[in-house]
Symmetry: D2
Subunit: 338 residues, 4 copies
Amino acid sequence: MIVIVKAGHEEIIDEIKNRFDGTNEVFVHHNRVAIQGITEKDLNAEEKNAIDLIIDNVPAAVQGSRLFHPEDTVVTTAHSKIGGDHFTMMAGPCSVESAEHVMKMAKVAKSGGATILRGGAFKPRTSPYSFQGLGEDGLKFLRAAADAYDMDVLTEVMDQDHVDMIAKYTDIFQIGARNMQNFSLLKAVGRTNIPVMLKRGMSATIDDILNAAEYIAAGGNHQIIITERGIRTFDNKYTRNTLDLGAVPVLQKLTHYPVIVDPSHAAGHTEFVTPEALAGVAVGASGLVVEIHDDPAHAFSDGAQALKPNQYREMAAKAFAIRKTLVAPVEEKSEVSL
Amino acid sequence: MIVIVKAGHEEIIDEIKNRFDGTNEVFVHHNRVAIQGITEKDLNAEEKNAIDLIIDNVPAAVQGSRLFHPEDTVVTTAHSKIGGDHFTMMAGPCSVESAEHVMKMAKVAKSGGATILRGGAFKPRTSPYSFQGLGEDGLKFLRAAADAYDMDVLTEVMDQDHVDMIAKYTDIFQIGARNMQNFSLLKAVGRTNIPVMLKRGMSATIDDILNAAEYIAAGGNHQIIITERGIRTFDNKYTRNTLDLGAVPVLQKLTHYPVIVDPSHAAGHTEFVTPEALAGVAVGASGLVVEIHDDPAHAFSDGAQALKPNQYREMAAKAFAIRKTLVAPVEEKSEVSL
Amino acid sequence: MIVIVKAGHEEIIDEIKNRFDGTNEVFVHHNRVAIQGITEKDLNAEEKNAIDLIIDNVPAAVQGSRLFHPEDTVVTTAHSKIGGDHFTMMAGPCSVESAEHVMKMAKVAKSGGATILRGGAFKPRTSPYSFQGLGEDGLKFLRAAADAYDMDVLTEVMDQDHVDMIAKYTDIFQIGARNMQNFSLLKAVGRTNIPVMLKRGMSATIDDILNAAEYIAAGGNHQIIITERGIRTFDNKYTRNTLDLGAVPVLQKLTHYPVIVDPSHAAGHTEFVTPEALAGVAVGASGLVVEIHDDPAHAFSDGAQALKPNQYREMAAKAFAIRKTLVAPVEEKSEVSL
Amino acid sequence: MIVIVKAGHEEIIDEIKNRFDGTNEVFVHHNRVAIQGITEKDLNAEEKNAIDLIIDNVPAAVQGSRLFHPEDTVVTTAHSKIGGDHFTMMAGPCSVESAEHVMKMAKVAKSGGATILRGGAFKPRTSPYSFQGLGEDGLKFLRAAADAYDMDVLTEVMDQDHVDMIAKYTDIFQIGARNMQNFSLLKAVGRTNIPVMLKRGMSATIDDILNAAEYIAAGGNHQIIITERGIRTFDNKYTRNTLDLGAVPVLQKLTHYPVIVDPSHAAGHTEFVTPEALAGVAVGASGLVVEIHDDPAHAFSDGAQALKPNQYREMAAKAFAIRKTLVAPVEEKSEVSL
């Protein structure tokens, strides 16, 4: 149950908090108080008097809900803002391959308008015998490259015991699709104050991802970015996953966290990345995260889906242009015969 | 196998045709000849000499393939062109409800830039006890409304025995998702010379829909439009289907038929129709087909997903603007801080 | 709404029927009356007095529902009973290939305990250029083979215009998965008095198939058999479809029609057909329908999933044995150390 | 590549191992040597001479493959054998609720023939605010209950930092569906010598689960049990997941690890658990793992899918009887008219 307290009665917030905390989960956001496990009849007369509105049927993932927190969350890092009216480009190689290579990729990323440099130093690979990443060395290379171009770092953490170490290098933690319900890992990043980019699991429902985000929020970390990256469906002959762009406006309605799109893992093949990226912009996402590589055929991982520098810059220019068109006031009906 | 005949050797085309037709399927498009069931060793010396290139690994749906027919097909009706560089808006009510109502909806559709009026007179309903459409009366109302606004008619045929009758009223047949593999119906419309808009089945793969289109083409009708309208996946709590926009560039690569997007049946809820429509434009579709209604709460069918007139016009204006941005030459990298 | 009439008040049944029929759908089964579109308040005092129980929240597919028709339907043909306590084996080749071949297959089918001979004369093929069946000749061969071994014929109808012709040869119509929502075809077989075996569509929900069956029942034909044959999911690398055996007890709870299992189309590969068949028996299905062939490598269609005669007989012997174990009274806890 | 060494040439095994180890993954099983990343041309004349057969196209998950390890693995604990010709019952409550309750449930489990007691002390819950388990106390209660009835303990580990602690109490680790690709956790249990029961992820393909098992094997732990527990598909209105029983014979063909079935999480509702369990037996699984509770309405978790004691014992008796029928020699064709 969420109660909205009347203006001038804010003192009741602490009283409610004191009365229920310990036995029930209680969360406060401005004049809204969420109390788990009670109903209107559990309120006393004084409390009822101070309350403007009661909202029932609150989802389990209450802290992430718009019912509790109506305004957009804007995740803020040194060089970027994600969410609200902002549109943010994130780019970089799938894996950090060397100090030189990631530096070169940072330059490319920046040249297309990215403010966040992505790159993996610890890689979740389907097979235990595949390349598993450069580890902490990779993080150092990534940090140096981002710093050289005034960018922020985004990198995956896949092991709860790495959280403190990775925290020394990154501006945003990425939780990968396979770990979306690794609850110990979610709790571990939830105890930090570093933003978390949470990717939707391959078969995660909308409610599943909101509950996964709540595991992070429950630890006190509310700087969360949700990423649609394609789901597993019956047809993966031509694309790696099915990009579920309808999930973007659905999530934006239900949660205040920014929602971005990863077209690279959805498409799985370079030629389909740009159309999926532009569709992600037009559906209203707050940003894109894309994989780039100057020599995809020799990439350490996922080369088949990397955009080459020129492809990336063209995609990015078109993406910014479509974003501009999308948020512009609606003109009189276009009479152009397109 | 497809053979490409050398310039100046076109006389071989008829010879190949005569030699294999009867025992094998043979199709000719300009200087390309597709012969089913043979390999290079079945060609004689004269034929080999006249051939520039042999393409193996040809899909079963050969007539629809870009390998056989590289250029875009542009489907042409009295008031519309679909495919190629064109972008086409199609709109109308789910069901034709009355002469007056469909006339009103035609006016709205036209005001948003649509040149094609959609409306159902025969409705495929999950339950036998639901409203099944006005039948031929509905077709008359629909035709009159389209004519009043210089539009083309698009309406569903769900019964092969109705093909001749519906042909008297429509400019484009619609084959619905549930009938995508109703092969008798596909053959029936394939014997007409009226364009066919074929909707992807809920669990149809890319190859399935191309083979379904081939059933139409096999009858001699090549005026085919393919429609992505959402597939069935594990999550339909918030949207009715999962719009698979990645399928659009995949189909555009594989086939020469125009590919359009139906955001209404995918979204299933008005509030998500516009974002999905705009994403469909940005992914590069050749058009949109959307459901509109002035009083959705009292629509005879599918009211929950209908756009109201103003919502429709705003969506359409934005759609045309995004299309314009999409096809414009790439500008120098935008320095705007969006 | 369904009303259950008190014993001794059966005269009210006709009164209710007369009062609502014409404006509402009304169905009667013994002392149960289903009236679509009304609620308790629409009943008058006399009616209320004669009624023992009112059931609300009735599914759209009311005639197929156990709420309306609690007892099992037993579909009866000359040589077979399907449903209730009966267990029925159906076997035969995918396609009728020749008079001699289907005669041979009938002998095999019979030797394994089948009382129903299946075989396709009109084949729904994904590609228009694949073998489409022998047509009416095939039906004649199939009928002769069944008659020679005192078996019933089961064959697919995929075109509503073939219903009358096929009716001359078959004991049971099969509606294939691709046509499960071909409503014109469902209506056409619903107007006959020949039993119909309806296969679940590849992405049909439980409710979808019950509604499809209702299209048949709405025409007056209640001799319906429902077949689980595998659904389309994300994994089809090793099996053709995912056999959804959980659907069998679910359907048996919801509907009175017999439910059988087709392991051949689910497995798609001979080596997995027998385990899936036996699982179908143990889950409680009323029968199996399997494809057999003496020379699978040269079968006209679907050879990869056909059981050879010996494989079929071993499967069938095991199937009957498991059925016997399944329906036997539970013994004292087995002390065998298995 | 796998090479099979000729009898009498076993000394070459160590030579191959020494030559490639360090640069390539090398695994030895009896007279088979798997070497990752090489082809026949990398072998020298002496090696070629000592080799009977070369197997190419080896899957990445080579240690789990039948190509490398043809014989069944039989996982052995104090009171149970899983795999090979054995059939094993595992039962217990979803959560350990108290010392008394789990003791009572152990008695019930044993009375139905179970030799393994399952129970959760650390629960992976979708929502962070749901009951998360009794922790180490729960493990103590579970151990005591299993010991009292001469049973083995099976319990879930969901956090790599708990591995050593849980190892003190359990005979088999369970890795849950949500953690199937939590690679750090897989590596952690792979470093122990305690058997691991690995549940298939909700959208994991057959290849995915084999690769996940390989992460465990790569650490040196080969005591692995694979569990089919239902996958996520488009229809979950009546069952929680779709039990993919076709996966059982597929897995048995590909891997030597035992494969068992969990009908409880698949069905999600008590009334469908027994049919799915029996189907699991008939499809050939090496065992069942089921949830039981004496008062499901008040279970701490998953009460809706728990079998009551009597239901469990009836199911188990039937399961053992069907297993006996399944593995019995095929009798002459039963003439009973079932």
